[in-house]
């Protein structure tokens, strides 16, 4: 029973890793940029919801929606204003730009005394009673995270499979030049990818808020998104999500059976092993083993 409980909390945390990895891979595929500010976007998303809820007195549902919408807008603005200028430069230029932007965002939040000095709790409607199934006790926020992730993944699938814009974004990730020849506006797709990436990060921030607290350093969780993205093969959206869940579970199990402290390095050790043995990601590695 204890094992199943650990498993479920691992899946829930893994879902958040997966969402951040998803936002990261979405941006990487469309723009070939590694974004080092997903953690900051996540943190800012949670703080925006908090400010609208506790500061402006909005109901939590509207505050959360508005926070995601605002972060989407911020992602688009940053692409238009700053990141677009790095197109055509080496990979590292855009990477350092995102790091610089992340520093500005983190600094801006830290500079607000009310935000940086205390831990905050986002009053989401599900954090009172744990769910009891027989002998199983499951935290409601974990279930909420898993359900919300499934919902978001479903929405994204619908968007990518059944809308013209989704198709255009996929075409752009496949081959930007040919997509441009087909009449797709590649710059617009770049803006869309950054907007979606920022929005997804904000969603992850809202889901993370009940698990940890809303605080300046909550963005550190985004570092776990890199191993998830690599394990997923860097360019696969479902791969990133699944690898995130896998990492969450692996971490939880490692925390149970391995000595203390090993848990925190498990994702990175897995990353190095995966690069060494399955450079194309776990999915392609499995395929290769089978054939």
């Amino acid at each position: 029973m204890a094992f199943i409980q650990v498993l479920i909390s691992g899946i829930a945390v893994g879902c958040i890793y997966g969402l951040v990895a998803l936002s990261f891979v979405l941006i990487y595929k469309a723009t070939e940029t590694i974004s080092f500010m997903q953690g900051e976007l996540l943190m800012l998303g949670a703080f925006t919801a908090l400010a609208l809820n506790a500061g402006a007195g909005w109901p939590i549902g509207w505050a959360a929606l508005a926070a995601v919408a605002l972060m989407t807008l911020l992602g688009a603005t940053l692409e238009r204003g700053v990141l677009r200028r790095a197109i055509g430069q080496p990979h590292l230029t855009a990477l350092l730009l995102t790091f610089g932007l992340g520093m500005i965002l983190r600094g801006a939040v830290t500079a607000v005394p009310a935000a940086s000095q205390t831990l905050h709790r986002l009053p989401l409607p599900f954090s009172e009673q744990p769910l009891v199934l027989g002998a199983l006790v499951i935290a409601t926020e974990h279930v909420a995270v898993i359900v919300a992730t499934l919902l978001l993944a479903g929405l994204l699938t619908l968007f990518f499979q059944y809308t013209r814009t989704g198709l255009a974004l996929r075409a752009c990730s496949e081959d930007a030049r040919i997509a441009a020849l087909m009449g797709i506006s590649v710059p617009a797709m770049h803006t869309l990818a950054w907007a979606l990436g920022a929005g997804l990060a904000a969603c992850a921030g809202l889901l993370l808020a009940p698990v940890t607290f809303v605080q300046v350093n909550m963005g550190l969780i985004a570092l776990k998104a890199f191993p998830a993205a690599v394990l997923g093969g860097m360019t696969s959206l479902p791969g990133a999500l699944l690898a995130g869940v896998f990492l969450g579970v692996a971490e939880a199990v490692a925390g149970l059976v391995l000595p203390e402290g090993v848990k925190d390095v498990v994702p990175y050790l897995l990353l190095m092993v995966a690069l060494l043995l399955f450079p194309g990601g776990l999915a392609s590695g499995l395929r290769r083993l089978r054939s």
Binding site: I34, V82, L96, G107, G261, V273
Partner: protein, 320 residues
């Protein structure tokens, strides 16, 4: 471009940089100890920056984990000195440990290259940080270790002037080695890999070996810089060598210019000077406007973004 002319062109500013450092040293001998302390830090950062410049600028690869390599050098040096080794004898071991770290960090991604090196070195640095926190019997965890002063025989570098002298000598030696290496078969192989991997391998260059070599040399430079840094700060703890330092070094290389060795010196001057300028500006702001730590991070972020947007080739100049 011919190798000989670029070598000469970039050596001149490199020499000029060393001369500036030496001049500052001479001036500082009559002036404040503060300036000399800054010279020691600039020179030490420049050595670490050289490692990044070789990896990024000469070979076209990415390292996001230089901080971890510096940590290896710093901790090897500190632990050996605490066990009674003379600092000068420990230094080669710190260097070798850094080189071994560079090899290990780049090993998983050596077939894939580019961004994957970024991932593997990042993971490596995060693992190192965690190991340093947890391996308490040797590193005393987050509490950190006090580092003995650097010394050779009877003489020990307790004054800022002595520290600056040692750093500048080490930097000059590192610059000379890098300059020689750049003109050698190995260095030309790196540049060929940077410019076109396929063409390089068609010319008989072992691309994978070249990439591994650059990470080993970059790691050795980081190990040296880490060891000196530990001596000058006098105290090591794992969080000094986190992601922030890795990115500071990348930004150093980018601000200075990755295509010239002298970029390391310019970048080091900027990266040591900018936070101090920012705190000067902050002191003149009315109190209570902003939280100090947040303001510093924000201002540094703005400087980074502005420099990368408006002068992506760095201070030391263009590639060709």
């Amino acid at each position: 471009m011919s190798v000989a002319t670029t070598g000469a062109r970039t050596l001149t500013p490199a020499l000029a940089g060393v001369l500036v450092a030496v001049a500052a040293l001479a001036m500082g001998a009559f002036g404040s100890a503060h300036l000399l302390g800054q010279v020691a830090f600039v020179a030490t950062y420049a050595i670490a920056g050289l490692g990044v410049i070789l990896i990024v600028g000469q070979c076209g690869q990415i390292s996001l984990g230089q901080g971890g390599l510096l940590a290896i050098g710093a901790y090897v040096q500190t632990v050996l000195c605490l066990r009674g080794w003379p600092p000068l004898a420990a230094l080669p071991l710190a260097l070798a440990a850094g080189a071994a770290g560079g090899w290990l960090a780049s090993l998983p991604a050596r077939r894939l290259g580019g961004l994957y090196f970024g991932m593997s070195t990042l993971a490596f640095a995060l693992i190192i940080e965690e190991v340093l926190v947890r391996w308490e019997t040797v590193t005393r965890g987050s509490a950190g270790l006090t580092v003995p002063t650097f010394g050779v025989g009877e003489w020990s570098a307790t004054s800022a002037g002595g520290q600056a002298l040692v750093s500048v000598i080490a930097l000059a030696a590192a610059l000379w080695c890098c300059w020689r290496l750049r003109k050698s078969r190995v260095g030309r192989a790196w540049q060929a890999v940077r410019d076109d991997e396929w063409a390089a391998s068609a010319c008989g260059i072992e691309v994978m070996t070249a990439k591994t070599q650059v990470f080993v040399v970059g790691g050795a430079l980081s190990g040296l810089a880490g060891a000196l840094y530990a001596h000058w700060i006098g105290f090591v703890s794992p969080e000094q060598f986190g992601l922030q330092l890795s990115f500071e070094l990348l930004i150093l290389a980018f601000m200075g210019g990755v295509y010239a060795l002298s970029g390391a010196i310019w970048g080091a001057i900027v990266i040591v000077a900018v936070p101090q300028l920012i705190s000067l500006i902050r002191d003149h702001l009315p109190a209570g406007v902003a939280n100090a730590a947040g303001f510093d991070a924000m201002a540094l972020g703005v400087v980074i973004v502005v420099v990368i947007l408006f002068r992506p080739e760095g201070i030391a100049g263009r590639r060709r």
